[in-house]
């Protein structure tokens, strides 16, 4: 018996007996099983449930209905309105957050002192508990004492206070404003980090060649940042489309479904109307969209990192 054997605990002998090809998977197994049970299995379960007429309170009495839930999505006016809301939300929210975030990141990098302190302060909206951020905006948009109503009256946009959160025409917009407020800082930090990663010498060389600041931005900054911007863009889309808290806290998706997006509709269908089958079918819609987004996310990721 050599001293190496003495130095090893008994469980290590047991591990030694596992063939090497299998042994590497052992440390990965716990993570994968946790993710598998609590994230991947529910997705499969949603596919299955979407073919049933199922009540949340009596899941045992589920009845197979084929594609009826999907047919309801196809025909229901209410759901069409929700899908349109979701589209508006994702398009407006993402584009505004990206433009604003890029400006903020650029200002932080180029124009403002104390970059690290300033970026920490700017990040507060993103790390603040979701419910806290949303309730601040709910208060600010309030119909009776809201500061935003007061501001609009002072600016002469409106004559008297209006209840924006309770109006069918306007109620979609306050949560979008809140969401842009939350997401823009995140994009700002991404922008700041990518700007800091660009080599100063490139700009020096470009200036020697007579490039104007705009040309430097167009032909150095943007191309150098393209993958980071792509990742930021996809993150904005993903965070926007799966957002629940901002809408739910501010308007509960109402009045009617005027401010409901897809996640809020899923929640309402499952936990207010108890219709699990339809909610699962709606989840599948959201899931497919997220799958497309994450496919591109991984593609971009591969380009940045090469092989894992």
């Amino acid at each position: 018996m050599s001293y190496v054997d003495n130095a090893q605990a008994s469980y290590e002998h047991a591990i030694e007996r596992v063939p090497d090809g299998v042994r590497v998977y052992l440390p990965i197994l716990p993570v994968m099983s946790l993710v598998g049970v609590f994230i991947l299995y529910p997705i499969a379960q949603a596919i299955y449930s979407s073919f049933f007429d199922k009540d949340l309170l009596a899941p045992a009495e589920a009845e197979f209905v084929g594609l009826a839930n999907y047919a309801e999505i196809w025909t229901s006016e209410t759901i069409h309105q929700v899908l349109w809301n979701t589209f508006v939300w994702v398009a407006v929210g993402s584009i505004a957050a990206i433009v604003l975030g890029f400006l903020m990141g650029w200002l932080l990098y180029e124009k403002l002192p104390f970059t690290s302190v300033a970026s920490a302060i700017v990040l507060i909206p993103w790390v603040l508990p979701r419910v806290v951020g949303a309730s601040i905006w709910q208060f600010m948009f309030g119909g009776s004492q809201g500061i935003i109503n007061e501001l609009l009256v002072q600016l002469g946009v409106i004559d008297e206070y209006i209840v924006m959160l309770g109006s069918t025409e306007l109620s979609l917009w306050p949560p979008i404003v809140g969401m842009i407020w939350r997401l823009a800082p995140l994009f700002a930090l991404l922008t700041l980090t990518s700007l800091q990663g660009i080599d100063e010498h490139l700009y020096e060389a470009a200036r020697m060649d007579g490039a104007t600041p705009w040309e430097q931005f167009r032909y150095i900054t943007l191309p150098m940042m393209r993958y980071n911007l792509a990742i930021g863009f996809l993150l904005m889309l993903i965070y926007n489309i799966r957002n629940f808290s901002m809408v739910w806290v501010m308007t509960k998706g109402g009045p009617g479904v005027s401010s409901s997006t897809l996640p809020v509709m899923i929640y309402r269908t499952a936990f207010v109307d108890f219709n699990v089958g339809l909610a699962s079918a709606l989840s599948m819609l959201l899931f497919v969209v997220l799958l497309v987004f994450s496919y591109y996310y991984i593609q971009v990721y591969d380009k940045v990192q090469g092989e894992f």
Binding site: V4, A7, Q8, E12, V24, I28, V31, L34, V35, F38, I39, L40, Y41, P42, S49, P59, M104, L107, E110, L112, S119, A120, I121, L123, I124, P125, V127, P129, R130, V131, V132, S135, I136, Q138, F139, S144, Q145, W181, L186, L190, Q196, G197, G210, Y227, I231, L235, F244, W248, L262, I266, Y267, S280, S283, L286, F287, F293, S294, Y297, Y301, Q305
Partner: protein
């Protein structure tokens, strides 16, 4: 890249531009940038200012129309009501009355103390699970080549995108089937599953950059791979490990969807608890704001520590400065 009034490299330019190379253009440019800075940062910072100011107003001042931008009569009424009502609901009011002679009575009920304890239980549990499981997996994924590695990494990356709203309904069914409904264990396991891919990606980034020579040195000293991991790498990875833990902590502290659907009122964590409170007492915004500030403090403390890891953590290490 300093932007002086006189660009030092002006003489190299073939096409002088009005915006950059004339006096008036420079003024226009500078005032535009100043205005832009003002607008953008007001948008970001004003809601935060508003929350703080509201917390220090009295209930009477909150109901004034138009609202006051600076509190006329700063008071701690909001904070006092939050603390008192927590003490009362947790049953400490008798204790305070007997030992200090303080009368505690409150018209509202928010038991922020219990909410915070519940949240701490869940967040620390989830953070530890994610850390312990994630670090080991990250080490192997970083150091070894094997079949299916790319698939596993992609799967972990993709699983970061789905949690929350896309799977809340089947998750409810799963938790009910497992008999874990209305337990904190359910949330610990789900948050653990949601955050461990994060930890894997963050720690893999650390292990990838780790100098090989140190690993080799420990191998020459007869360390098994496990001993190398435990006695050499983990102590040196301390900062990354703390950052990972804080990421997991933040996610679990802020998560609303699962906490709302999988728990009853009695077991609520901070986000659904605050939500119920906001909806019940939305005339007393100073109390709401005070409660919001109290529950945001741990998050702000965490932010100060992990700021430098933030981008890496959010993008799984894809974006590095």
């Amino acid at each position: 890249m300093a932007t002086d009034t006189q660009d030092p490299n002006q003489e190299f330019r073939k096409n002088p531009s009005w915006l950059y190379d004339t006096q008036s253009g420079t003024y226009v440019r500078k005032s535009l940038i100043g205005l832009l800075t003002l607008v953008v940062f007001t948008y970001v910072l004003f809601p935060l200012y508003w929350m703080v100011v509201t917390a220090f107003k009295t209930t009477a001042e909150i109901q004034q129309i138009p609202p006051t931008v600076f509190p006329e009569d700063p008071s701690l009424q909001g904070f006092r009501m939050v603390v008192m009502s927590s003490l009362q609901t947790s049953g400490y009011d008798a204790f305070f009355e007997q030992s200090f002679g303080w009368e505690i009575s409150s018209a509202i009920d928010i038991d922020i103390l219990t909410l915070i304890v519940n949240s701490l239980k869940v967040t620390v549990g989830a953070g530890l699970i994610a850390l312990v499981l994630g670090t080991g997996a990250a080490y192997v994924l970083s150091q070894r080549e094997f079949r299916g590695k790319n698939a596993i990494m992609s799967l972990l990356l993709a699983s970061l995108m789905f949690p929350g709203t896309a799977i809340m309904v089947p998750e409810w069914e799963l938790i009910s089937t497992l008999g874990l409904f209305n337990t904190h264990l359910a949330l610990i396991l789900i948050y653990g599953a949601m955050t461990s891919p994060f930890v894997v990606w963050l720690m893999k980034g650390f292990f990838d950059d780790f100098p090989d020579s140190i690993v080799e040195a420990s191998r020459i000293d007869q360390c098994t791979p496990f001993e190398t991991f435990w006695y050499v790498l983990v102590p040196m990875a301390r900062n990354s490990l703390i950052a990972s833990f804080i990421f997991a902590f933040l996610l679990a502290w802020n998560e609303l969807v699962f906490a709302l659907t999988l728990l009853d009122n009695s077991k609520f964590t901070v986000p659904p608890g605050l939500l119920t409170f906001v909806q019940g007492f939305n005339t007393q915004w100073n109390v709401v704001a005070a409660a919001s500030i109290i529950i945001s403090l741990p998050v702000l403390a965490g932010l100060a520590y992990i700021q430098q890891y933030f981008v890496q953590g959010l993008t799984g290490g894809a974006v590095k400065g």
